[in-house]
Structure formats: C-alpha cells, structure tokens
Symmetry: C2
Subunit: 334 residues, 2 copies
C-alpha cells in the first residue's frame, strides 16, 4: 500500500531540504501549485550536486512506488553545450550522437572513449569530461541503470544550462481487466546557472541545480491506480486507535490516549461520548491504522487492556503498565 500520507511528511521534507542540506548551499524550496522543488545553489566542484539531485529524484520515485521509471537525459541539450559553448565541431558531436543512439545508457561514455577518433580529439574528450564525471557519480550512487539518453527530449525552458533530465514512468504490461495507466513525465530537473544572477541587482551569479516533482500528475496516477487495483492510501500517520465497547467510558479513553501521546505515540479516538465499537473498528480499518487498544469495564477492573492488530484481527490482553512498551515494540518491528 503506497503511504502517501507518510511520504508527504517525510519525502517532501527531504525534498525541501529538511533532511539533507548540503554544506554551504542554500536550499530554495518553492511550493507551487503543481509541483514541488528541491534545489542546491552555490559554487561547488563539478557534477557533485547534479548527481545528488538525480539520486534524490530516484529516491522519491522509488519511495512513491509508482512502478518502474527511467531518467532520460536530453541529448539535444548536451550536444548544444558541446558545440556552442565548448566549441566542439558539429561533426564530432554527431559522431557522439551516433553512440547515444546505439547505447543510450551509462556505459556510453566508456564506449566512446574506446573510439580512436573520439579519444584522440581533445575537444571531444573535454566535452565528454563532465558527462563522464556525472555518470561516474551516478554509478557510485547505484542508480546508473535508471539513466538513459533521449534523442527526442529537448529543454522546454531556456534557463537550463547543462544536463537536463526528466523522469518517465514506464508502462507496465496491462493485466486482464486492467485499465492502461497513463504514464509519462513525472519529474524534471537540470542546471540553471544563469537564472539567479538575472534577478540580482549586482549581477552576482549563483550556480543552481534542481528538480521539480509533478505532484498533481503523481496524485492523479496514484488515484487511477487506486481505482484499478482497489488500493487504499493512508491519509494519516495514526499508529493507535483508542476504542471502547462501553458506554460512559470517555474519561478512561482520554486518560489512556494522553498516556500514549505523552509517550510520543500517534493516537486518536472518536470525539463522541458513546461511539459504537463496530464504528470504531471499521474506522481503524478504513484509515489503515495498524493497532487498536480497547478498554472496557472488565479490563479496567483487572488492570488489562486489549491490544488488537487491525490486519490479523488478533486481540491479546496486555497489562496496562506494559501497554506503551508493547505498542512501541510492535511499531518498531513493523
């Protein structure tokens, strides 16, 4: 079950630089209506932040469990960089393009360096240098097999300077009775070294690299998948639901939930004096809350609490004084 609620809290926080802030870098976390961004700004050694951005893109897409994906790099933009900015002869660039067309993956740079014509050309070697560096780092990050070149991809925005990439979901083979999923681009990024300087009154340049996640696009894919597979998405992080079969047991529930809250456990209850037990259990199932504690008159008298696993519907009696420890144990195991 994809836990979007969870990822919303954690993965987006990572995205916006809460979890890993690079040394000396400024993280520009822009919340737009359709996408969410992560950027690394500052002067650093080549391709290190670029590789981290691609890694983060992979982590987010893997974490969201949207299915298989590829990160496609735009060959047209790389060619433009080589020819217009590094002065590589167009025919040499096109020879590189031939390799791109044949291979398209990370091994491509190594293959090209074996080509006598390219490896003897100083400009070609220089032009390939950054790309080789980036692919080296992506290999060290264990994501090389996710990368391929795309001959048709071209930058949509003029402000990109350097490698531009786009993540596309791969179509999974349709199962019987399954609606085909709408796949396509779900994230994009690249380097934009000139943009910040354009807005600086003194024209100071701030090299930047970043990525955008297509939040609405991803939500609609997840929604479509939910419809097709009848999957559920957790919208809360609640770990424990506090229930009772008893009338007039609100005070006991409140006391118990305060104990859980104070122990850092995410718990909730129904804001009703006398909710029905079935309603409480159904709610816990619907919301994907893993544990329910049930307190009644007998339990109260005997100093026990019932702990129910929502998935297995198994119930065990736990001594009240051991309840918090038992819950913490179960949560850490799952």
């Amino acid at each position: 079950m994809p836990q979007l609620g969870f990822l919303h809290g954690r993965a987006w926080a990572a995205l916006l630089g809460q979890l890993r802030r690079p040394p000396g870098a400024v993280c520009i976390g822009a919340v737009r209506s359709h996408s969410q961004d992560f950027d690394i700004a500052g002067h650093f050694d080549p391709m290190i932040p670029d590789a981290e951005c691609v890694k983060i893109m992979c982590e987010i897409l893997s974490g969201l469990q949207l299915g298989d994906f590829l990160i496609k790099m735009s060959w047209k933009d790389v060619r433009h960089e080589m020819v217009a900015k590094r002065g590589l002869a167009p025919e040499v660039a096109d020879r590189i393009g031939d390799y791109v067309q044949c291979h398209g993956g990370v091994s491509l740079v190594e293959d090209m360096l074996q080509d006598p014509e390219l490896s003897r050309n100083k400009q070609a070697l220089e032009g390939l240098g950054d790309l080789k560096l980036l692919f080296d780092y992506l290999t060290l990050f264990g994501i090389a097999e996710k990368i391929s070149f795309d001959l048709s991809l071209a930058r949509g925005l003029d402000y990109y300077t350097g490698v531009i990439y786009e993540a596309v979901l791969l179509q999974t083979p349709a199962q019987a009775g399954e609606e085909p999923l709408n796949v396509g681009s779900v994230a994009a990024g690249g380097r934009y070294d000139g943009l910040v300087g354009m807005f600086d009154p003194k024209g100071h340049t701030v090299p930047c690299v970043g990525l955008s996640i297509g939040v609405e696009r991803i939500f609609s894919i997840v929604e479509q998948r939910m419809k097709t597979f009848g999957e559920k998405i957790r919208t809360t992080e609640t770990q424990v639901f506090v229930a009772t079969p008893q009338k007039n047991f609100l005070r006991e529930r409140l006391k118990l939930i305060a104990e859980l809250w104070d122990a850092g456990i995410k718990a909730e209850l129904m804001y009703k004096n006398n909710p029905k037990l079935l309603t409480q259990l159904h709610y816990s199932e619907d919301m994907g809350i893993p544990l329910v504690v049930i307190i009644g008159e007998q339990e109260l008298k005997e100093g026990f609490i019932k702990l129910r696993s929502v998935a297995s519907r198994e119930e065990v009696a736990i001594k009240r004084e051991n309840l918090v420890a038992e819950i913490q144990k179960r949560l850490s195991e799952s």
Copy 2:
C-alpha cells in the same frame, strides 16, 4: 539545545493534522505569514476537540522549550456566554466572577459547586457545565495546572463563540548580565462555530475549534535567547557527516554516503573534491551534526571506517560492514 529544525518538521506536521487526525474531522491547516494553525471542524460531543486543542497547544510549547507558560482563559467571554446566551442572571455570573478572581485555576469549578447559592441555581449549574467538562478533560490530559482564568483578557475577534484561550510565556527571573526576555502571548485559540457557515452559500454550519501558534513571535524569542545564552539552533536534521582527510577521495565518500542514504540515514558531505579535514569537522560541529564518519586510504585498505562523536570528539574504528548497524544503534540510543 532547542531543535527548531526538528520541530519544524515534526511538531508543525502534528499541528497541521498529519500526526493525529480526528475521526470524521476536517483539518484546516492554514499557513499564514505570522502564525501556523491547527483546527478541528465537525459536529462532535461537547468539549472533546476543545480539550485536545488545548493539549496540543501545551505539547507544542513544551516541545519548543521556551520556558514556563500558562494558558489563560478569558473570563469576560465566558461571562458573556453565560449571561447573553444561556440567560444567567448577571449577579449570579458576577458571583462566579468572584470565584474566578480568587482561584483562577481548574479547582475553581469544584469550589463553585460547593457554594450553596451557586449549586442551587439551575442556570448557574448549566452555565458551569461545559466549563466543568472542559476542566475534567484537561485534568485527564494532565495539563490542568497550566490553565488559569484571566479577568483582563478579552477576545480580539468577534468570530469566537465559547471558551477562548491564550498561551503566555512566564518571565523567568533574570540572571546576572542577562537581558530580560520579552515575554507575552505566543499562541491563541478558541471555538468559532459560526465562521464557516458565513461563507457557505447554503449557510450550513460547521462547528470549529482551533489554535494559532505565533511563529514569528516564537522565532524572535528563540533568537533573543540565542543571543543571551549563546545557544545554537540546529537547522538541519543531518545525522552523519561523511568526511575524509585524504585528497582524491570523493568517489569513496560518494559510495559511502549512498550506503547511508539507502539505509535511511540522513547524511551529507562537502561538494568539493578535496575539502580540508578541519573544515569538515568544524562544519559538523557548527551544524550540530552528532556523528562523523571518516574514511581515508588506510581505513579503505583495512576495511575499517572511523566513527567520530562530535560532542565527545572520541573516535573509534568500525568494520565497514558493521558501520550502518553501529550508526543506527547510536542514533536510537541518543
């Protein structure tokens, strides 16, 4: 050391309903420029969501470690509710006011119920009913001692309906050489049952209760305290910094950090090919990162990594294959 970075991720997420979403309730998380809100909307049994809001206010203020605080309830508004809405005779309300003036805390309701004149008055009993309920729940939540009535406090906003409360920081006795801290209101909340209906075309009412945290006010208090006490605030959640004393060791650092990232450990490194070891260690200290792993040529040859505790500056050699487990153990212990 107050960990605002941490709370920003966790406590505000709690605030905005990620951690505990009440059954059937809609959480309205409004991000304004100066404050951050938590609200519970929906039809529920009396005073249960109200008590939870006050509890959340206490949890946030305790978590922020701003010093001692009180939650003051506005007597004027409670009196107005009793007289104008429940038809209590003004002189009976003022007799209740005498109690409020004398006691002001949670025991007040019990004291009033001992007063023959009040306990024989049906309207007074009714008027006190909700207040008694709220105070009962706050006692069960273990926060009764944080509550007091304030005779001077009056609602600033007309849309409140019912109990209104405000959290004030208490002045701590000034130490020698210490600038007095600016204290005062840092959070406020209450019930506003009429507001949503005013914006609904069909006039459907949606009872609401909520609270606002004065984020900018709290930030300026924390800043002032930092200046006075020379305290530091962590602005990242980074758990491990990956360092090297060696030149040309970027690839080894990247490989190592990818291992940590893939294990869910929050790690960072310098985006430089050859950073100085001292720079890397200073950075870790400045940022309050608890652990540093140090990899050099010798460690690489012998299959060990140095693990440094930033606080104690102690370093131990750990077998590379045990590094992730050892880091996770240390992090779970701290």
